[in-house]
């Protein structure tokens, strides 16, 4: 059993070395290696999850030969291991769902480059999830950004390159703010390891000295990560980046990359600043307001959109607003709801992207709504999967989206001042979600005679299987919500 303590470090190294080896392989080899590595890392994470769940503790793994205050560390508990497992599962499904598109849309000579980027993305996500060192986190944030930029620009159309440039500019602004914030924090505390920083921050807060610099530091780090994860006023880059990249990239960007940053933010809130000090700062009210604004504005933009991919992308803005609204509530229940929504949104949004591409395929790659009329009859399995995703996002019971809305409302009720705005905006946002998702579902199920050919599941077994797995994952999240919420609560309690 003790050997499992090495698994988190091993999985990061495995992903990183597979990226290096892929650079010498041809497309098919890199693809097989990538599938193997994602599966292997998933198995390793599952073992780690089992181990930490049985012992109920979190573990510190020392990297290199220097002990605590100076050296570098990995720290893992149930929440981290579970997140790593979940990220692997979503990554595997997204890649399998978009496999045919990758083959069609990417220049055959460059297919291995795509898988290098995916491997790097996996390793940086794992490092963000597991690391206990702030500066290491910054370095892997940048690696994550570079890998994500590569995933967008691999299409090599003018639109994709422009989207990648805009994505890069916004991301670099975000990481610049994060970097100066963490340098100021290092200046105040003299530490880089999260646990040591927290001791010093508590001392500073207790003495009451340096309160303004502390507030500025928290603001800089939070805003930096909020820009990178596309919180409402900073979301301008998102629709292009998700809309014009290949479908696997869009699914991974929306459900993994932005969620990696949000998970890092949760770590910073709990482990670096301390949850109570974070709640006392007025930053959470700012997050709350922008979260609410994002929930409304993202949905209204999605309603106005006439392109299915961009509509799904704008819906991400609204869902990220939900997550930040949960942070803004400032209670543990709000945090649990946010973490659950990270899972629910990741599972649903990648399902929507992958099934959406099935629908546009039977409309000759047209993404306009008018061309999609009746597409669900021409590709039955993508139509059903899209409907499941849409129902889940709207918040119909049985699917994961319902549970996260339920948890958000329960958390909102516990809060005195924020109950009313949170519940009202939740209701409005649900109505808006219903408008644009049901509009799409009705459109794809409107029978019409059209010249486009039909596609059958037996011709694309991998695609159909992936959609089935996504739907199953959604229903599992929706039906077994109590154990998952318990796991999140327990994970957050050993987090600090």
């Amino acid at each position: 059993m003790e050997i499992i303590r090495n698994f988190p470090c091993l999985s990061i190294l495995l992903a990183m070395f597979s990226a290096i080896i892929s650079s010498a392989l041809k497309g098919a080899g890199a693809r097989r290696l990538n599938t193997f590595v994602v599966t292997a890392v998933g198995v390793l994470s599952a073992c780690t999850l089992y181990f930490t769940h049985v012992t109920g503790k979190s573990y510190v793994y020392v990297m290199g030969h220097f002990p605590a205050p100076l050296g570098n560390e990995i720290r893992f508990g149930t929440l981290e291991a579970g997140m790593a497992l979940f990220f692997c599962v979503i990554m595997l499904f997204s890649l399998n769902g978009g496999r045919e598109k990758i083959r069609l849309e990417i220049d055959p000579g460059k297919e291995n480059l795509y898988y290098i980027m995916v491997d790097l993305l996996l390793s940086s996500l794992l490092a963000l999830v597991y690391t206990n060192d702030l500066f290491t986190a910054y370095v892997f944030v940048e690696i994550n950004t570079i890998a994500a930029c590569g995933l967008i620009m691999i299409m090599e159309s003018g639109r994709a390159i422009e989207a990648a440039t805009r994505y890069m500019i916004m991301s670099l602004l975000g990481s610049g703010l994060f970097l100066i914030g963490l340098c100021m924090l290092y200046d105040m505390t003299g530490h880089l390891l999260m646990s040591n920083v927290q001791e010093s921050v508590r001392q500073i807060a207790a003495e009451g000295s340096y309160m303004i610099p502390l507030l500025v530091t928290i603001a800089l780090m939070v805003v930096g990560l909020a820009i990178k994860s596309a919180l409402f006023p900073f979301h301008a880059w998102l629709p292009d980046a998700y809309g014009y990249s290949t479908v696997s990239s869009a699914a991974m960007l929306s459900s993994l990359v932005s969620k990696g940053y949000i998970f890092l933010l949760i770590k910073i809130i709990y482990r670096v600043i301390g949850f109570d000090i974070f709640v006392q700062s007025r930053i959470i009210n700012v997050l709350f307001v922008f979260g609410l604004a994002g929930m409304i504005m993202g949905s209204t933009s999605a309603i106005r959109e006439n392109d299915i991919r961009r509509m799904i992308s704008y819906s991400s803005v609204a869902q990220i607003g939900y997550i930040y609204m949960g942070f803004g509530l400032g209670t543990t229940a709000g945090m649990v709801a946010s973490v659950f929504h990270i899972l629910a949104h990741a599972a649903t949004k990648s399902l929507l992207f992958v099934s959406g591409v099935g629908l546009t395929d039977v409309a000759d790659d047209n993404k306009q709504f008018i061309e999609l009329t009746g597409a669900a009859y021409r590709n039955v399995c993508a139509g059903l999967a899209f409907t499941v995703g849409a129902l889940s996002m709207v918040g119909i019971p049985l699917f994961s989206g319902f549970i996260s809305k339920l948890l958000f409302s329960q958390a909102a009720v516990q809060s005195n001042l924020k109950m009313l705005p949170a519940l009202i905006v939740l209701a409005i946002s649900t109505v808006l979600n219903t408008i644009y998702f049901m509009k799409t579902v009705i459109r794809i199920y409107t029978p019409i005679k059209s010249g486009y050919p039909s596609v059958f599941a037996k011709d694309h077994p991998l695609y159909a299987l992936t959609l089935l797995c996504f739907v199953a994952l959604n229903i599992v999240l929706g039906m077994c919500s109590q154990p998952i919420a318990d796991w999140i609560t327990q994970g957050l309690s050993v987090f600090a």
């Binding site: 570079i146 930029c149 003018g158 639109r159 670099l172 602004l173 970097l179 100066i180 100021m184 290092y186």
Partner: protein, 126 residues
């Protein structure tokens, strides 16, 4: 008055933060890609100035052990210097990526103005 003396005592940090602001606004607001990248580099360099200033101790020497002297009163704090080195590596790689994106855009559209490129893409309706 008190703020004035604080600012004067920590003038290097003030310069660093001002430079950070200059770089940040350049990266955000400039239309020209090359100017944006220059802004990015100013922003990153400002952070290194901040770190270097924080690690420096008046009168101490570079942290290379000489003549077996390991007394902490001799050397400056080596950790910020290490962070600066790591930061430079990161900054070089993102600058290279940005430059390569700029080259791609320039070859295709023969302009460095990002807004003009966006306008042209909208007109093409692609």
């Amino acid at each position: 008055m008190e703020i004035g003396t604080h600012l004067l005592a920590n003038y290097a940090e003030v310069v660093a933060v001002a430079l950070f602001g200059i770089g940040f606004t350049n990266l955000l607001l400039q239309k020209n890609m090359i100017k944006k990248i220059i802004g990015l580099n100013i922003m990153d360099t400002a952070v290194y100035l901040f770190l270097a200033e924080k690690g420096y101790i008046e009168g101490h020497i570079a942290p290379i052990v000489m003549n077996g002297n390991v007394s902490p009163d001799t050397y400056i704090n080596p950790v910020p210097s290490g962070l600066v080195l790591t930061g430079i590596v990161v900054s070089v790689s993102v600058t290279a990526l940005m430059l390569s994106l700029t080259i791609r855009l320039y070859r295709r559209y023969h302009t460095l103005d990002l807004d003009e490129i966006t306008m042209r893409l909208k007109k093409e309706g692609l």
